[in-house]
């Protein structure tokens, strides 16, 4: 290593060090601390703290409420990601195909994406109102109790999440479509490909990478989603919308079981990291990331 290279390294390290220190303090340390917490029995108000070992995890393994939360998280994630993906691609293609209303459409999509999730939750709570909600009015006056009926609550929550996050997929896909040069389409036309043929053999393959990335981001977000169900239903009715994050939160700050809640938090953490790792491997194999 030459003196110049060494100087560059030193300067680089110097510039990165403050940010790194803060990240270690605010993310690194807490993520080790949460592992430690999850091995303890802690009730903060009474100042109780004793070592529980893997006790919380052993309890969770046979806790029906935990497994119900796992199922709800899975259902929520799969349904909302699939819907967002399907609708998002459809919207992106529609935006590409029809210039009219494109600006307005993009603005509305961006707004829905940029609003606080709590605002979206309040908006949907009002739309779902049993008697005065627009949803029931549109459905011809059915007085369905969307958020109060255990069978309807999860679909209702999923729908509002899809509304809020589909724009992300649509905008990503649309931006990718914008970057496809016109010659590609002209060539397809010269080869005699019809509209559907072009879509199948030209457009969709070009969207492949961005779709995979969107699925990765959206899956991670869906697994750790909290705001939307917590504000809309608080996990109810009858725990029908209680995902792992909501169960963790309720354990932590309502039942004040810091150790137990941290154990659930650790499981969400492990789940998210597994998803991220699996997708990264996939993306690498596909050559999307290096």
């Amino acid at each position: 290593m030459t003196a110049g290279q060494r100087a560059r390294r030193r300067r680089g390290l110097l510039l990165v060090a403050p940010a790194l220190a803060v990240l270690l303090l605010l993310t690194g340390y807490p993520s080790l601390y949460v592992l430690w917490l999850s091995l303890q029995h802690r009730v903060p108000v009474f100042g109780i703290a004793e070592f529980a070992g893997l006790g919380h995890y052993a309890f969770l393994a046979q806790d029906p409420r935990f497994w119900s939360a796992v199922r709800t998280t899975g259902l929520f994630t799969v349904a909302s990601v699939l819907l967002e993906l399907g609708l998002g691609l459809l919207v992106a293609l529609a935006l590409q195909a029809r210039p009219r209303g494109r600006r307005l459409g993009l603005s509305l999509l961006l707004l829905a994406w940029a609003m606080p999730a709590v605002v979206t939750a309040k908006l949907f709570e009002w739309l779902y109102h049993p008697s005065a909600g627009l949803v029931n009015v549109v459905l011809g006056g059915w007085a369905l109790n969307w958020l109060g009926d255990p069978r309807l609550a999860l679909p209702a929550v999923i729908l509002s999440d899809v509304w809020r996050t589909m724009p992300f997929v649509a905008i990503l896909a649309y931006a990718r479509l914008l970057s496809i040069p016109a010659e590609v389409y002209e060539a397809a036309q010269m080869d005699g490909a019809g509209r559907l043929g072009t879509l199948r053999h030209v457009t969709l393959p070009l969207l492949r990478q961005i779709v995979m990335i969107a699925v990765l981001f959206r899956t991670l977000d869906a697994v750790r989603a909290f705001d939307i169900m917590y504000v809309l239903t608080g996990g109810g009715p009858a725990n029908a919308t209680e995902t792992l994050t909501v169960y963790a939160y309720r354990s932590l700050f309502q039942m004040l079981q810091l150790g137990f809640g941290s154990a659930i938090g650790m499981i969400v953490f492990a789940l998210v990291m597994t998803v991220a790792w699996a997708y990264l491997r996939l993306l690498r194999r596909e050559g999307v990331v290096t």
């Binding site: 560059r8 300067r11 680089g12 390290l13 110097l14 510039l15 990165v16 403050p18 940010a19 790194l20 803060v22 605010l26 993310t27 807490p30 993520s31 601390y33 949460v34 903060p44 529609a94 935006l95 209303g101 459409g105 603005s107 509305l108 961006l110 829905a112 940029a114 609003m115 606080p116 999730a117 709590v118 605002v119 309040k122 908006l123 009002w126 739309l127 005065a132 627009l134 009015v137 509304w163 905008i171 990503l172 931006a175 990718r176 914008l178 990478q209 990335i213 969107a214 750790r224 909290f226 705001d227 994050t245 700050f253 809640g261 941290s262 938090g265 969400v268 953490f269 991220a276 999307v288």
Partner: protein
């Protein structure tokens, strides 16, 4: 059949526009509807419009205080994230940092961290520092996820600046600090502005940390105030709609300013190495 294929995109566009325009419009309308007409449908449209809900929200609720808290916390978070993020992004994009790939992976990885896993340790840490229910608690908590995002976005913007400019400055004898200040920062200004607005937006919208680390009006942010909106006997839907509109103002302004950049920025942010 052919006509159907042609009409389909139009129908989709219309349906899509309606699906997004109607809820916004409905919330806006609700915020101006007289109390007596809120829970009666039909008629859908109110007989008159009123500012009562805005008056209640601005004069009798904690929303104005929450708006001030949110504004202060999001601004300070943005400043802190940029102050730490600009040098770090420059170091990663341009200089040789030992273990750079690992570092980048850690930064990307930490953007995927679920907040629910760090909320309990952060709660204990902030409490033991005596920071509970202060702006500082949220500024620190928000920086934990805003900083990786800032570094990630900025490193990409810096890579787009032609490197030759900096090299010639170095040949002319400029120090790293001088190069950063005189060459990189001015060229980075648009990217810096976009990054700042996005960081602000994420801090403004954040709920879980804000809900957990605040206890009173001293630090409650808008999303928290909205989630805790008091309704003793009945839910004040009109007031909530008015408060929602006020809470959405900064995001709306940010989207209007960044509209063009956001579409490209989201794409770049997503596929960037």
């Amino acid at each position: 059949m052919k006509r159907l294929v042609h009409a389909l995109p139009d129908a989709l566009v219309l349906l899509g526009l309606a699906a997004y325009a109607v809820p916004f419009f409905w919330q806006l309308l609700t915020s101006f509807k007289p109390e007596a007409e809120l829970l009666r449908l039909p008629p859908l449209l109110p007989t008159r419009l009123t500012l009562d809900h805005y008056r209640v929200v601005l004069e009798q609720s904690l929303i104005p205080r929450a708006l001030a808290n949110s504004f202060g916390i999001a601004s300070l978070t943005t400043l802190l994230a940029l102050a730490l993020g600009v040098p770090a992004a420059y170091g990663i994009a341009r200089l040789a940092v030992p273990g750079k790939n690992l570092l980048l992976l850690a930064i990307v990885g930490s953007t995927a961290f679920p907040q629910i896993a760090t909320v309990s340790p952060l709660y204990l840490i902030l409490r033991s520092l005596g920071l509970r229910d202060t702006w500082m608690a949220l500024v620190l908590a928000h920086t934990s996820f805003a900083l990786p995002l800032t570094i990630w976005l900025l490193a990409g913007f810096i890579r787009e600046i032609p490197h030759a400019l900096e090299e010639s400055a170095a040949v002319d004898g400029a120090s790293t600090t001088q190069t950063l200040g005189r060459i990189v920062l001015p060229l980075l200004a648009p990217g810096l502005a976009s990054t700042a607005l996005l960081t602000f937006l994420f801090s403004w919208n954040e709920f879980l940390f804000a809900y957990t680390f605040t206890a009173t009006e001293a630090s409650r942010t808008v999303p928290v105030a909205l989630a805790l909106f008091p309704g003793v006997y009945e839910v004040p839907w009109g007031d909530i709609a008015a408060a929602s509109m006020l809470a959405s103002l900064p995001p709306i302004l940010i989207v209007l300013v960044l509209q063009r950049h956001l579409v490209r920025g989201l794409l770049a942010g997503a596929v960037r190495e």
